[in-house]
Amino acid sequence: MESNVIYLDNNATTMVAPEVLQAMMPFFMERYGNPSSMHDFGGDVARDVENARHSVAQMLGADYDYEIVFTSGATESDNMAILGTLQYYRDKKHIITTKVEHPAVLNLCRQLEREGYSVTYVPVDREGNLDLDFLFDSVTQDTAIVSVMYANNETGVIFPVEEIGAFCKKRGIPFHVDAVQAIGKIPVDVNKIQCDLLAISGHKFHAPKGIGVLYVRRGTRMRPLLYGGHQEKARRPGTHNVPGIIGIGKAAELVMQHLANKDEVERIKRLRDKLEDGLLSQFANAHRNGNRDRRVDNTSNIGFEFIEGEAILLYLNEKGIAASSGSACSSGSLEPSHVLRAMGVPFTSAHGSIRFSLSRYTTEEEIDYTLNIMPEVVNQLLEISPYWDSKNKKGKLIGELAR
């Protein structure tokens, strides 16, 4: 059933859990009715949709099921949260977010700047920690919304959303959290965060692609992005993606089970640390990107100096290992990841950064195999690199490296 690849790219997407697929299957050919229909064939499906909504609400610690709005994914949820809020508070023209957000938020903010909004991008330090005071000082009378990610997709670094939430609540400013990379990895509780809005995506926690959620706290003022039917209380019209909704509901149940199982949670962290510590101790040219302790347990971002990330990925690919890179080449853009640049990671290792992201399906054998393969990959590329002195086994310091 599972493919042979050693999949260490779970921050990009995850396998659909077998239980999730099983739960979805009847809704394609047997129970394909429209939950909005009057007849039982469709109407009965509505009950399953509402059960799924309840599971998601439970996972997020929401007080009311109707605070859960199903969307097509987190890009839509993020856009809906920010645009929907701005549409309501039309006289407010200032947005606060961070420099290291996902493009779903960052590129939306860039577009809003072109349309006349002003946006404050809160910086991070060398370890990827948010400059909280900077954020607090940025708030003005004109601030319409604060949008901050819970955990960073590239480094896994967790932001203090609870402190931001308490602050925003006190100031009466709508607070949106992009929790895509936190969900399933750490407990996410909308009441502890005190956020008004929170986005998640199904395919990051073993539900299928194409289903997401926007949590909308009761009483939150916003306008819909789409107009159409009455679905989702007209906040997000369009016929329900029933199989996707059933899938994300089941995946939410599995997340709750998983997070309640301390041994299992600890196991992923132990495997991640084994991989990371193994790499850092093996290679003098390797450095961790991001705060070691304040991050999600599945993510490790390692910068390899003097070699290039896409080449590392291609070599790993040959060995059946799937990971990702913040290098310029692998993205199709010409600059390395905006997250690593915001952190001030030197270009010497930003171009050689590799992100390994585990899931609850990752095994110890897979980590051991990866640790065994890496020396071959890294050493082969070091041999090719003009910045590596193979005789003395150290990097060549060239003027630019100081930058």
Binding site: A311, S327, C329, P336, T348, H351, E383, P386
Partner: protein, 280 residues
Amino acid sequence: MWEYTDKVKELYKNPKNVGEIPDADVVVEVGSIVCGDALTLYLKLDNGKIVDAKFKTFGCGSAIASSSALTEMIKGKTVEEAAKITNKDIVEFLGGLPDQKMHCSVMGQEALEKAIKKIKGQSVEDEHEDEGAIVCQCFGVSENLIRRVINENNLTTVEEVTNYTKAGGACGSCIPKIEDIIKEELNKVKEKQDAEVAAKPMSNLKRMQLVEETIQNVIRPVLLRDGGDIELIDIDGKKVYVALRGHCANCVISDVTMKNLVQEKLHEYVEHDIQVIEVK
């Protein structure tokens, strides 16, 4: 995931000629670790011939493959023969590169060109003067390189120039300058073509063919759309006799049609001094 050819994959998996030549006659470096790719090329010469070539590359799969390809291509060639190799030849050798990776082949060509300059004793200190102003500060791309790559690869857009040279791919502040350069180069090409056309008078047969084609394919469709039509009566040298039909025949603005549509199109597609005469 990039669509790399089998040749590219073969060469980044098992690159040929990796390493240094301890007693190399020429060593050149291009690119930088900051920019994300860099190549050091080592050449051993004997009697004007490149008898050995090795490289070290920091960069992605296609940068490694391009470097390897370059060394394979120049080994055994005379310096003069090698000087003729362009980035296009490298791309061809590799069976193609993804658009966004074209700059890898240009990096190979740059290294080769720099090496040949060195061989010919042109001092490398002069190089910046020689290469013209730097247009893209982020990636250190010179105006001359941009112009040459535009011409050798028939580029027409900023995006293409970025794919081939990386210029404009970071902060983007040089994009207007790149646009100007493209415009200038395209104008040069057009002027050259125009000059060639002007230098060679058109034969009567060619002119007649062009007039017929233009009326049939360009002018008639426009008139037919409005319920009109046109008939070619005769061609005498540069005089073209036509009659308007259908709605056009009685149209009060038929003079305007003649001047703005028929004459203008014939000037554009055939010759600028065609004279249109309406036969009523």
